[in-house]
């Protein structure tokens, strides 16, 4: 088997297991209240980490590029309660515009 197909097989199976473990093992069970509170906070912690890494990192380095002003414009749109489409398009248009003129 070539290296590529080995990667396809192993990474595919590992990903299936990572995604399924929680939903299959926790089937129908209620978490104790303390654990439920911690799990509730997974969403804000993970989302904030995704924002941070997707806006400020590339190739395992911290970088400040056109994505940052894009996300700043998105933050303003969010504060103005703009719809999701407007938020996303405003971010992309800002980054694209800055890249076009630089």
């Amino acid at each position: 088997m070539s290296a590529v197909w080995l990667c396809v097989l192993v990474v595919g199976l590992a990903t299936v297991a990572l995604k399924a473990a929680g939903p299959v093992l926790a089937a129908g069970r209620q978490l104790p209240q303390g654990a439920a509170r911690v799990v509730d906070l997974l969403a804000p912690a993970l989302l904030a980490a995704l924002v941070a890494t997707q806006a400020f990192s590339a190739d395992e380095e911290l970088v400040l590029d056109e994505r940052a002003p894009g996300v700043a414009v998105a933050a303003v749109a969010i504060l103005l309660r703009a719809p999701l489409l407007v938020v996303v398009v405003a971010a992309a248009a800002t980054a694209a515009g800055l890249r076009a003129i630089s």
């Binding site: 080995l6 939903p23 799990v39």
Partner: protein
């Protein structure tokens, strides 16, 4: 609030579809450039279905790395799906096989779009995840066929669309101090670790921020203070 449907899940994903198809196509182009055969690239999109891990595999292999190094990087990047799936596990129902299959549609975007103040919405996750699957796999097929004739998605600013999406979905969750604390600590952990750890580690390590949930009670219960002898009782059950 009205119950949401699969169609609602597809509708909320629509603003992101151009970016998803474009990144699927750029994965196809990059895979071909790294010497990965076209069929393997499309099969990887259809089975692994996780952009960052797939980009890691082709870039490690393209740079002459071993399969073990590529697999290690990809598994590390996808490890975040374990805590994400745990957070969303209450949304799934049915038998183990059905849960296993439905959970495969969980990716960053479908997970984030289906999050609500009181948990996760299964139909939105499946509707958004299903459409995303078609866009990602179809985009990859376009990329391996069209090759270098495609525009780099970054030129169109599409790489800024994803952090903007996650920020928009984070905002409504910041409704109390614990959630704000978890988000702030999570972001700080991710930023601090980015230059010093392999990709994938910063986001997983950021999940430690949810432990701030242990520092505060779920809600104040005035009835407790009036209960004699420290035996808490529910005011009404």
């Amino acid at each position: 609030m009205a119950e949401r449907t699969y169609r609602d899940g597809m509708r909320v994903l629509l603003p992101l579809m151009p970016a998803i198809v474009a990144f699927g196509a750029s994965f196809g182009v990059l895979a071909r450039a790294a010497g990965v055969d076209a069929l393997a690239a499309v099969v990887m999109s259809a089975t692994t279905f996780a952009g960052s891990a797939q980009f890691a595999v082709v870039s490690v292999l393209g740079a002459g790395g071993t399969a073990a190094a590529a697999i290690g990087a990809a598994v590390l990047l996808n490890a975040r799906y374990a805590p994400m799936a745990i957070a969303a596990s209450g949304a799934f129902h049915g038998g183990p096989l059905r849960r296993l299959l439905e959970a495969q549609l969980l990716v960053d975007e479908s997970w984030a779009l289906s999050s609500r103040e009181d948990g996760f919405d299964r139909k939105v996750l499946i509707g958004a995840g299903g459409l995303l699957y078609l866009g990602w796999t179809g985009g990859t097929a376009v990329g391996v066929l069209a090759g270098d004739s495609l525009t780099d998605p970054a030129t169109l600013g599409l790489d800024a669309a994803f952090p903007a999406l996650f920020l928009a979905l984070l905002a409504p969750l910041l409704r109390d101090r614990a959630a704000m604390g978890a988000a702030a600590i999570g972001a700080v952990i991710a930023i601090a670790l980015t230059p010093v750890t392999p990709a994938g580690v910063p986001v997983i390590a950021a999940t430690a921020a949810c432990l701030v949930g242990l520092t505060r009670p779920r809600r104040r219960e005035p009835a407790r203070r009036r209960t004699p002898a420290g035996r808490p009782q529910e005011a009404s059950t």
